[in-house]
Symmetry: C2
Subunit: 158 residues, 2 copies
């Protein structure tokens, strides 16, 4: 059995099918959701290339339930809104949007990534998807470190 | 007429009475309001002593109307939430709350400061008011520079 044939047999058994996953919906209302927390990532940080700038985390009402209970229900959506950080006169202000990252919980739609759909929208453009079928490697692999928090890095603060 | 007597006559005529103003209510729900924008102020900035740290601006629904129209209606409330900025490993994260600043529009209650009540709550404590009767000097004097924006410094961004 060659490798390709083996994959045809084994991958579906692992739930790692090559079929197109459900597209993560663009979260049209996220700017009205609750602001969870923010962080500034600067040059020299290991995640600077991917996430340099100032980011804000927003949560829809179901995601707020998840932050409080530790388990995010289906329909929970978390937005990671990354803006350029512009430094001037001993201050850092927000610049243009670099990317809008999204985690969308739907157990049936995203079984390969623990029920989370991951997507990124370049410059916040709903048509400019930057993750697509690469969610496992591009997003989920790092998020596995947060398994005890249902794969979410951010924590709710007061 | 001595100065004190003069003040008794002139100040009320200017609307600068010494009577106690209406206390600005503590905005209990502000963490659920819309996040308007954020900024980091660092050592060396002229406002560092007062406002050093990372601050987030939140607006209640009436204040959102004001950002859009340029004129804030009575009942509009803007929260200025100032947190310590903690620097580590080429990143800045949020620390404890330094002060929660509030602007509350009520034309009848705050005629001396263009209809805006100003207050600050140390560490976000509803009982720790730091502005009180000093709103004109401590807050409004600087906000007059923004008269064309109804005395509000922040602008709504997408």
């Amino acid at each position: 059995m060659n490798r390709f044939a083996l994959a045809l047999v084994v991958l579906p058994a692992l739930g790692l099918s090559a079929q197109a996953q459900t597209e993560v919906p663009y979260p049209t209302e996220y700017r009205q959701w609750q602001h969870v927390k923010s962080m500034l990532i600067e040059q020299g940080h290991p995640l600077y290339e991917a996430f340099g700038g100032i980011h804000h985390i927003y949560a829809n009402p179901l995601a707020m339930e998840g932050y409080r209970s530790g388990q995010f229900p289906d329909g929970a959506v978390i937005a990671f809104d990354l803006l350029e950080a512009e430094r001037a006169d001993h201050a850092v202000v927000e610049g243009v949007r670099k990317v809008l990252g999204v985690m969308h919980k739907d157990q049936a739609a995203y079984p390969e990534t623990a029920g989370w759909g991951f997507e990124g929208f370049a410059a916040g453009d709903p048509a400019a998807r930057v993750v697509g079928a690469n969610a496992y490697d591009a997003c989920f692999a790092c998020h596995t470190s947060e398994r005890e928090y249902d794969y979410v890095f951010s924590r709710l603060r007061e």
